[in-house]
C-alpha cells in the first residue's frame, strides 16, 4: 500500500515538472506538487515503524537491477522534510518571474530527494543525487531575485560537484572491492573490507555529504546561494534536501563503516564529531552576523546539520566502545534534531518570504509586521524561532537537551580519548547553542517585533496559515514526543540492537535512557505553564483600574521615531563581532563627504561594514586562482593557427598508432 502511494507521488511530481516546463496553467503544477508531497507523507505515516517493502524497478543501471526501499529512519526524515516542502510549493516562490522554472526545479529536487532516500544501488543513488542538486540550482536560477544570481549558484554547484566527486570516488572504491553497486552488498561486506578502504571511504562520505550539509569548509556557499533565492527555495533546501543528505551519510557511516569496535571506529567517530562541532561553532558565529533573513537562516541550517553530524560521530564512538544503547540514543537524537529543524527552519524561511512580500526586501530591520499581521503568524514564527533557539517547550529544546544528555553520558566510555572528546564537544555545543539563541532573538526581535513608523504593510493570508501550521507542528512534535518516538523503534532496534526508543520516554517524561539521570516533559509543560499563568491573569483582572493617560515616549522633549534609535541588526551583533574579531576579521569604514574643498563641513556619511569568511580567502580563492591560471595556460591550445591544430592532430595519430601497435 505505501509503495502505491509512492508511485502516485512520483507520477504527480513528474507531471508537475512537465507542466511547469510548458509554463502554462502553473497552478495545476503547484497542486500536483503538493498532492505528491501529501501522498508521500501518507505513505510514511502508514509504513512507520517498519519501513516499506523492497520493490525492484524495471530498469538496469551499470549492469544491475535497481531496487527501491525506504527504511524507517528514511521515512522519518522524508516525512518531516516534505512537510515544509509541501507548504513551500503551495505558496511557491514570491518572485514575479520564472515560476515555471522554479516549479520544475522543485519537482526535480523532490524526485531526486526521494531517489536519494530510497534507491538501493550506487549508480541510481548518484543519479538521484545529481538530479537533486540540479533541481536546487534550477530553482535558484529561475527566480532571478537578485541581479547577480549566477555567481553564487556557480560557487554552490562547484562545491557540490567537488562533494559529488568524493561520492563517486567512494562508491567506485567500494564497488570495486565488493564487485557490486548494490548497497546491500556494501552492508554485508562491512567488516570484511580492508581496513584502509573502509576508512578512506568513510572520509570520502563525510566530504561528499558534508558539501551538501554544510560541514566546514563547505558552508561558505550557503549565504550566497540561499541569499540569491527566496525563502521557499530555502525551505526545500533546508528541509528535504538536507535530510536526504544526512540520511545517506548516516547510512554510510553506520552500515558500511569498519566493523563495530576498534581504534579505527573510535578514530572515525572522533573525526566526525570534531568536524561536526567545529562546523557548528563556525556556522553559528557567522549566522549571528548576517543581516539578511535567508543568509542567516542558511548558516543556521548548516549549524543544525553539523550538530546532527556531531551526534552521528558520538554514535560511532559509543558503538566502538560497545555501548549500543548510548549509540542508539545519539543516533535517535540526530534524527529528532533534524525533524524539528526541518519544520522550524521551513517556518522561518516562509516567514522571510512573507516579509519580502510585505516590504520588498529580505533584510532584517524593523518592519512592525507583527503588530500589523495576524497573531497566528506571530505565534507560528515565535514557535519556530524558539525551537531553533532551543527554548522549552519546543522541539528544538527537546533535541538540544537530548544532545547534551548524550554528551554528558560520555563519562560512561572506557577510553580516555572518548571521554575527553565528549567533554570538549559538550563545551563547543554549549557555545553554539548560546550563539544560536542570540541569533534567533535577533531575527525575531528586530525582524518581526521591531516597531517602525514606515508605511503600513501586512502579512498575506497564505503566509499566515503556512507559518502558523509549521509553528504548530513544531510544538506538536515536542508535546507529542513520547508518541512520535515509537515510530523509530524498529529502526533503532535493528541498527543497534537495543530498545532505545522505548527507553527514551517514561510515561510523559522524556529521559536519556533512565529517569535517574535527568528528565524533561514538554507534554506536561504545555499543560502546566498556562495553568501557572492563570494566577497572574486573575490578579490583573481583579485589580483596580486607574485611568490611563498615554503620552509619547520620553525622548528629551521631542517626539521622535522610536525606530531610528532602536537596536539594529548590526548593533545587536557588534559586541560579538569585536569579541571574536580573530575569526571575523571585521571591517568598518566611514567615509565623510564634504561640501566643496573644505573637509570640515560634512554633508554625507557613507558607512560600510563587513565580516570576512575563513575558508574563502585561504581555501577557495587560491583554488579559484589556480583554476584561472591553469585555464590561461591551457588557453595556449586555442592559438588559432591552422598549422598548430594540424600538428596536434598529427601527434595524436602517432600516439594512437603507437598504442594500437603495443
Amino acid at each position: 500500500m505505501p509503495n502505491e502511494f509512492l508511485f502516485v507521488t512520483v507520477c504527480a511530481w513528474l507531471t508537475a515538472a512537465v507542466i511547469a516546463l510548458f509554463g502554462r496553467i502553473l497552478i495545476v503544477s503547484r497542486i500536483l506538487l503538493v498532492f505528491g508531497c501529501i501522498t508521500a507523507i501518507a505513505a510514511a505515516v502508514l509504513s512507520l515503524p517498519n519501513g516499506t517493502s523492497m520493490i525492484v524497478l524495471p530498469t538496469q543501471l551499470a549492469g544491475e537491477q535497481v531496487s527501491f526501499q525506504l527504511t524507517a529512519d528514511g521515512l522519518w526524515l522524508l516525512g518531516f522534510g516534505l512537510a515544509p516542502a509541501a507548504l513551500a510549493c503551495a505558496l511557491a516562490s514570491p518572485s514575479r518571474q520564472g515560476q515555471g522554472g522554479w516549479l520544475f526545479g522543485a519537482a526535480a529536487s523532490l524526485v531526486g530527494g526521494l531517489g536519494v532516500f530510497g534507491l538501493q544501488d550506487g549508480a541510481g543513488f548518484l543519479i538521484a543525487w545529481e538530479i537533486m542538486s540540479f533541481g536546487g540550482a534550477v530553482m535558484l536560477l529561475s527566480e532571478r531575485l537578485t541581479a547577480d544570481v549566477g555567481r553564487p549558484v556557480l560557487f554552490m554547484l562547484s562545491l557540490l560537484e567537488a562533494g559529488a566527486l568524493a561520492l563517486i570516488a567512494m562508491i567506485l572504491l567500494f564497488a570495486y572491492s565488493v564487485h557490486s553497486f548494490a548497497f546491500e552488498a556494501f552492508r554485508r561486506a562491512g567488516s570484511d573490507l580492508p581496513y584502509w578502504i573502509a576508512i578512506v571511504g568513510a572520509v570520502l562520505l563525510v566530504i561528499g555529504f558534508g558539501a551538501k550539509l554544510g560541514l566546514l569548509p563547505f558552508y561558505e556557499w550557503f549565504p550566497g546561494a540561499y541569499g540569491a533565492g527566496s525563502g521557499a527555495s530555502g525551505a526545500l533546501l533546508s528541509g528535504l534536501v538536507m535530510n536526504a543528505a544526512f540520511f545517506a551519510l548516516s547510512r554510510g557511516l553506520l552500515d558500511w563503516a569498519p566493523g563495530q569496535t576498534g581504534i579505527g571506529a573510535t578514530g572515525l567517530g572522533i573525526f566526525v564529531i570534531v568536524i561536526g562541532v567545529v562546523s557548528a561553532i563556525l556556522s553559528a558565529l557567522y549566522a549571528f552576523q548576517e543581516e539578511d533573513w535567508r543568509a542567516l537562516l542558511s548558516f543556521s541550517s548548516a549549524e543544525n546539520a553539523s550538530i546532527a553530524v556531531a551526534m552521528l560521530g558520538a554514535a560511532l564512538i559509543f558503538r566502538a566502545d560497545g555501548r549500543q544503547d548510548l549509540a542508539g540514543l545519539a543516533w535517535m537524537v540526530s534524527l529528532l534534531h533534524l525533524a524539528g529543524h526541518a519544520l522550524a527552519k521551513g517556518g522561518l524561511l516562509l516567514a522571510a518570504d512573507a516579509v519580502y512580500r510585505a516590504t520588498g526586501q529580505y533584510g532584517i530591520f524593523h518592519t512592525d509586521l507583527l503588530r500589523r499581521g495576524s497573531w497566528v503568524f506571530g505565534v507560528g514564527a515565535l514557535f519556530a524561532a524558539m525551537s531553533l533557539a532551543a527554548m522549552p517547550p519546543q522541539a528544538g529544546f527537546v533535541s538540544e537537551w537530548y544532545v547534551f544528555q548524550t554528551v554528558f553520558q560520555g563519562f560512561r566510555l572506557d577510553s580516555l580519548a572518548g571521554r575527553l572528546i565528549m567533554a570538549l564537544a559538550g563545551a563547543g555545543l554549549a557555545l553554539t547553542v548560546a550563539v544560536a539563541f542570540a541569533t534567533f532573538v535577533k531575527v525575531f526581535g528586530i525582524g518581526l517585533l521591531g516597531r517602525s513608523a514606515r508605511p503600513a504593510t501586512s502579512i498575506s493570508g497564505g503566509s499566515t496559515v503556512v507559518v502558523g501550521l509549521l509553528g504548530l507542528g513544531v510544538l506538536a512534535l515536542a508535546v507529542g514526543m513520547p508518541v512520535w518516538l515509537d515510530a523509530l523503534r524498529v529502526a533503532v532496534a535493528s541498527e543497534f540492537g537495543a530498545q532505545v526508543a522505548r527507553d527514551m520516554h517514561d510515561g510523559f517524561l522524556l529521559v536519556p535512557l533512565t529517569a535517574k539521570f535527568a528528565f524533561i516533559s514538554p507534554t506536561l509543560l504545555v499543560i502546566v505553564m498556562p495553568l501557572l499563568a492563570v494566577i497572574p491573569i486573575l490578579l490583573v483582572l481583579m485589580s483596580r483600574r486607574f485611568p490611563i493617560r498615554r503620552v509619547p515616549v520620553w525622548y528629551g522633549g521631542f517626539d521622535h521615531d522610536p525606530e531610528r534609535a532602536s537596536t539594529t541588526a548590526l548593533t545587536f551583533s557588534n559586541a560579538l563581532r569585536t569579541f571574536y574579531s580573530f575569526i571575523y576579521r571585521p571591517t568598518e569604514e566611514v567615509q565623510r563627504e564634504a561640501n566643496g574643498a573644505v573637509h570640515y563641513f560634512v554633508q554625507r556619511l557613507v558607512f560600510t561594514h563587513d565580516v570576512a569568511p575563513i575558508f574563502g580567502p585561504y581555501v577557495f580563492a587560491p583554488a579559484i586562482r589556480s583554476v584561472f591560471i591553469t585555464a590561461s595556460k591551457l588557453r595556449a591550445l586555442q592559438s588559432g593557427h591552422l598549422n598548430f591544430y594540424l600538428a596536434l592532430i598529427g601527434i595524436l595519430f602517432v600516439i594512437v598508432l603507437a598504442l594500437a601497435l603495443l
Binding site: 503620552v551 522633549g557 521631542f558
Partner: protein, 266 residues
C-alpha cells in the same frame, strides 16, 4: 593611588547645620532683595522706578502713603534702585528667602493682618521624599550653577530627602529656570505632559517667575505665567542655594513661608 574613601571620611562632615538645626546657612554677607520703606519716599521722586531694568518698581501717583508698586517677582537684585534712591527709601538687605506659593505674595503690600501660615499641597506622602525634574528653559546658567551647588557637601540636598531625577516619569516636581524661549516652549510642555500625576511646578529665578531681564523680545516669553500652572515661585537672580532649599521645604510644609506682601516675616 590615594584612598579616596578614607580621605573623604577623614575630611569630616562639611554639611551646613541649617536647615535641620539652627546654625550657619552659608549666606552671611549676601545682598538680597531691597527693602522698601514707603515713609521715606521723596515727593514726586521716581529715581528708583526710572532706573529699574525690569520695571519691577512702578509709580502710583495717586497714593501718597505708598507711592510705589514693587513686584519682587520681577526683581533681579541689581541694587540699582538702592544706589539711585536719595532718601534711603530703598535699602539693601540680606533678604533671600522669597519662596512663595502665590504670585501675589511677592507684590509689596502693607503688612497683612493674618499671621496664619499658608499651607497647601502636597499631601504628607512627599514630605520626606521628593523627586525633582529640572528643565532649563533658557536661563543664563546662573540658576543652574546654584541648583548644581545643592548637591555639594555643604548644602547636601539628599539629606532632606529631595533628589533630582533623570526622567520626568519619576518626578513629582517640575523645576523650571529661564524665561521660556520659543524653542524650549514645546519641550517644556512635553516634559510636563510626561510627568505622572500628582505633579507640581516650581519657578526658580526671576526669569521663570516673570521673565527677568530676558523678557519678551523676538525669542522669549514672560516666564511660566500662562505656560504651566505654578505651585511655588522663587524670585532671585539667581536665588542662592539656601533660598532654593527653603522654598522646597516650604513647599513640603516643613518650613513656613516667610514672604508675605513682599516682605519677609522674621
Amino acid at each position: 593611588m590615594p584612598l579616596w574613601t578614607l580621605i573623604g571620611l577623614l575630611e569630616g562632615k562639611q554639611t551646613a547645620p541649617w536647615p535641620l538645626h539652627d546654625g550657619a546657612d552659608g549666606q552671611s554677607g549676601f545682598i538680597g532683595m531691597p527693602r522698601y520703606h514707603p515713609e521715606r519716599c521723596g515727593e514726586g521722586c521716581d529715581a528708583c522706578a526710572e532706573v529699574c531694568p525690569t520695571h519691577a518698581i512702578t509709580m502710583r501717583p495717586s497714593d501718597k502713603d505708598r507711592p510705589l508698586d514693587i513686584d519682587y517677582g520681577r526683581c533681579i537684585v541689581c541694587q540699582l534702585c538702592t544706589e539711585a534712591c536719595p532718601t534711603q527709601a530703598m535699602m539693601p538687605s540680606s533678604d533671600w528667602a522669597f519662596g512663595a506659593r502665590r504670585r501675589e505674595d511677592l507684590i509689596w503690600k502693607e503688612q497683612p493682618q493674618t499671621s496664619t501660615s499658608i499651607r497647601g499641597k502636597p499631601v504628607s506622602t512627599f514630605r520626606r521624599s521628593l523627586h525633582i525634574r529640572h528643565v532649563d528653559a533658557g536661563s543664563c546658567n546662573g540658576c543652574e550653577s546654584e541648583l548644581q551647588a545643592l548637591n555639594n557637601p555643604f548644602y547636601n540636598l539628599h539629606r532632606l530627602g529631595i533628589f533630582f531625577t533623570a526622567s520626568p516619569r519619576f518626578a513629582d516636581l517640575l523645576l523650571v529656570t529661564g524665561p521660556v524661549t520659543y524653542a524650549m516652549l514645546n519641550p517644556l510642555r512635553a516634559t510636563y505632559e510626561a510627568m505622572a500625576e500628582p505633579r507640581w511646578v516650581m519657578a526658580v529665578g526671576t526669569c521663570a517667575v516673570s521673565g527677568g531681564v530676558a523678557e519678551g523680545g523676538y525669542s522669549c516669553g514672560h516666564g511660566l505665567e500662562g505656560v504651566l500652572p505654578v505651585d511655588v515661585y522663587l524670585p532671585g537672580c539667581p536665588p542662592n542655594p539656601a533660598a532654593i532649599i527653603h522654598s522646597l521645604l516650604m513647599f513640603l510644609n516643613r518650613m513656613p513661608q516667610r514672604v508675605r506682601g513682599g516682605q519677609l516675616a522674621e
